[in-house]
């Protein structure tokens, strides 16, 4: 009887252990490319797939590639911009992640420095394409190409042409117009100013720093607390203190307010022309260069890269080569709106007639810089964090802007040493 009891008990317990093991085994997954009837599936992650207006059009472009041949299928993965870097880099760091990624520059620099990106020289012969030289020179790390420009979107001043007949040409005019327009629920200007939108704040303050002749580094040394940087950021703070912006409103909110005529001006990148039109086709808005003393501003340089861990690098490269074909570059540029693409293209007469200010964005390409700290590209995310935290502390009045930049310089030096 005792043997019977032990037998039943062992059977019951063993069954439970087997179930638990089967459950654990079921949680594993393999990482190979899906191959169904010889079709290789390649995932392409981009925050822009979720953009209103451009997202659906980009998905259509992927469909077009998929229909153009029957060996490779590109599947889109939309990841929201605020968490894009964290999400994708975490996956890539653990040897997973999408095959193709549209990165922003800080994350591109960090990923290439960490060896997470596949070198492209042997996968794609770029000599046959007429690439834009200025943005393309940022696609290298230690002389090796890791990316090709998918989108280059320069920052300019968007303004409501009904509220502002003539765009400001100087900072003083800019400030005055912002003040004059602010009344009740309407604001003269909007920009990001909360820690919750750290990456966006970095992009916004970049324009003030470079627009007033400053720079985060000279290529070899950090210059975060330089007098020119201070001058630019004091102007940023002056606008914040003047209450001409909807404080606390995130970018999605104030961009909708701009589309609804509740915000008179915003400094934004060309990628948002299509989104703004999508939110309000009746809005009469235009674009002008940012009215700061120096014609130098940020640009969203978004390279398309291949994951080093991807088991389908050649298939991923085929998609990039297809995108680089002249007719597809034109299509992509039509989708992206006021952004440039990798190669030099001719805008159609129709697109110029619909959007006359497209040439404003195009003319800014040679004076635009990516949102990285030159010479310290791989450390840009960490430097960005200390700079933004300290600048926001100054906006909150906890410290003055000079102290904020001095602290940021000190903390950033500790990071890079």
């Amino acid at each position: 009887m005792r043997k019977q009891r032990i037998g039943r008990s062992v059977l019951a317990a063993t069954s439970a252990v087997v179930v638990a093991t089967a459950f654990a085994a079921g949680c594993t997954s393999d990482n190979g490319p899906e191959s169904d009837d010889g079709v290789i599936t390649v995932t392409f992650a981009a925050s822009t797939f979720g953009d209103p207006g451009r997202g659906p059009a980009l998905l259509d472009l992927l469909d077009e590639f998929n229909k153009s041949q029957d060996k490779i299928r590109v599947a889109a993965a939309a990841v929201p911009f605020p968490t894009f870097g964290q999400t994708v880099l975490t996956q890539m760091g653990s040897g997973l992640g999408p095959d193709l990624i549209r990165f922003d520059m800080p994350e591109f620099a960090a990923a290439s420095d960490a060896g997470l990106l596949a070198p492209l020289d042997e996968l794609i012969d770029v000599s046959q394409y007429n690439l834009h030289q200025q943005p393309d020179k940022f696609m290298f790390a230690d002389g090796v190409r890791y990316g090709i420009i998918f989108e280059a979107s320069n920052y300019a001043l968007f303004y409501n042409a009904d509220l502002i007949p003539e765009p400001p040409k100087t900072y003083e005019e800019f400030f005055q117009i912002a003040k004059d327009l602010t009344n009740g629920d309407t604001y003269g200007l909007a920009f990001r100013q909360t820690e919750a939108e750290m990456a966006g704040v970095w992009q916004d303050i970049f324009n003030y720093v470079y627009g007033f002749g400053g720079a985060w580094s000279d290529g070899e040394k950090l210059t975060i607390n330089s007098p020119k940087n201070l001058e630019g950021l004091l102007k940023y703070q002056e606008l914040y203190d003047a209450n001409v912006i909807p404080r606390g409103a995130d970018a999605a909110t104030f961009r909708r307010m701009f589309a609804e005529g509740k915000v008179g001006m915003e400094i934004n990148n060309g990628g948002y022309v299509t989104a703004t039109r999508g939110q309000n086709p009746e809005l009469n808005f235009s674009v002008a260069p940012i009215p700061f003393p120096v014609r130098s501003q940020g640009a969203i340089l978004a390279p398309i890269v291949i994951n080093e861990a991807s088991p389908a690098k050649e298939a991923a490269a085929e998609f990039i080569k297809w995108v680089l074909q002249p007719e597809n570059q034109v299509k992509l540029q039509e989708i992206l709106g006021a952004s440039s693409v990798a190669t030099v293209t001719q805008r159609s007469a129709q697109s110029l007639a619909e959007t006359p200010f497209l040439t404003v964005f195009d003319d800014l390409t040679d004076t635009s810089l990516p949102h990285v700290v030159l010479g310290f590209e791989a450390k840009t995310p960490e430097i960005r964090q200390v700079v933004v935290e300290n600048v926001i502390a100054a906006l909150q009045g906890t410290i003055d802007m000079k102290t904020a930049l001095d602290r940021a310089q000190e903390q950033a030096l500790a990071l890079v040493s």
Binding site: A13, M92, G93, E195
Partner: protein, 319 residues
């Protein structure tokens, strides 16, 4: 025959057979309980003990999120760095303030609501059901709605404060280092008090009515009755709730991250937020693990203190 006498009488064969029948059960082996505990133990070992051991190891290394398999042993460097960082001291203080305020607020408000719901009034059943709504709402939904409620321009909180003459400068609540933490605390307590009120309501209903009546007849006032009768009965439940609230508050992430991401200027940065920021913004897994270990140690200290207090109370025979 007394029990002792019964026990000293040698058992007869019939008695032994009877005793064996009582002892014999289909699962009578002494190893059976352990075998049934095995799946749960394996689960805890695989999904908690192993990750905890990994975290301990990581906390002594310099490891990047972008290369998690390449760790460099640095000994206590991470701990020295975080404890010599003034920002980390502020994070610890913020965490302590947040936890204490959550515990006091959630348990205190839960007790008040429970006492109200313990009284008879029309619609009490409906009230008891409605009180659970904040607890049932998903944390993410609560965080997003609260963010809008506290919005500088359009939030109803600012509209109310302006209407009663208590408007804040610029309407900044979540943007203000002074008001962001109270706003988060208010949201947290709003979400927690239903749980504490339901638990305390059931505890209140176990207070013997005859003791309450006897106290009243002896001339005790409401406060004295509460202190000498009600509180003595519900004290163990309050202690347990305080422990649970402490542990949950130490771990709270989504509410704070979605509302302020630990800002502005670190005003709402707790240990968990700092840990996440170090791991996924700064990509320093070693530093994040060290911060996590500090949180684990604090939790263990709280549990140990709670056990000590409970045992001391037991020894004094208060229970």
């Amino acid at each position: 025959m007394t029990v002792l006498e019964k026990m000293s009488v040698p058992r007869t064969e019939a008695g032994r057979r009877g005793s064996n029948r009582r002892k014999r059960s289909p699962l009578g082996s002494k190893w059976t309980p352990y075998l049934f505990l095995a799946p749960g133990a394996i689960f805890i070992l695989v999904f908690q003990a192993v990750p905890l051991a990994q975290e301990v190891y990581l906390s002594f290394t310099r490891t990047s999120l972008l290369n998690p398999t390449r760790s460099r042993w640095v000994g206590f460097d991470n701990y020295v760095r975080i404890f010599s960082d003034e920002d980390f001291h502020r994070t610890l203080i913020t965490t302590i303030i947040y936890v204490i305020a959550c515990v006091v607020g959630a348990v205190g408000s839960g007790l008040v609501v429970a006492m109200l719901l313990d009284k008879g009034f029309r619609g009490r059943g409906v009230a008891r059901a409605l009180v659970t709504v904040p607890w049932a709402a998903p944390g993410i939904a609560v965080a997003l709605i609260a963010t809008w409620m506290f919005n500088n321009q359009y939030g109803i909180v600012n509209r109310f404060l302006n209407a009663v003459g208590l408007g804040l400068p610029g309407g900044a609540i979540l943007d203000s280092p002074r008001y962001a933490l109270p706003a988060i605390l208010a949201t947290t307590i709003w979400q927690l008090f239903p749980f504490t009120s339901v638990v305390l309501l059931s505890a209140l209903q176990s207070v013997p009515q005859d003791l309450m009546e006897a106290a009243t007849m002896d001339g005790a006032g409401r406060w004295a009755t509460f202190r000498e009768v009600t509180w003595q009965v519900i004290k163990p439940v309050v202690g347990l709730l305080a422990l649970l609230m402490t542990i949950w508050s130490l771990r709270r992430f989504e509410l704070i991250w979605l509302m302020t991401k630990g800002g502005p200027v670190g005003a709402t940065k707790t240990l968990v937020i700092d840990l996440y920021s170090q791991a996924f913004d700064s990509r320093e897994l070693g530093t994040a693990a060290a911060i996590g270990m500090v949180g684990v140690i604090i939790s263990l200290m709280v549990i140990a203190a709670s056990r000590f207090v409970a045992r001391a109370a037991e020894k004094e025979g208060i229970r």
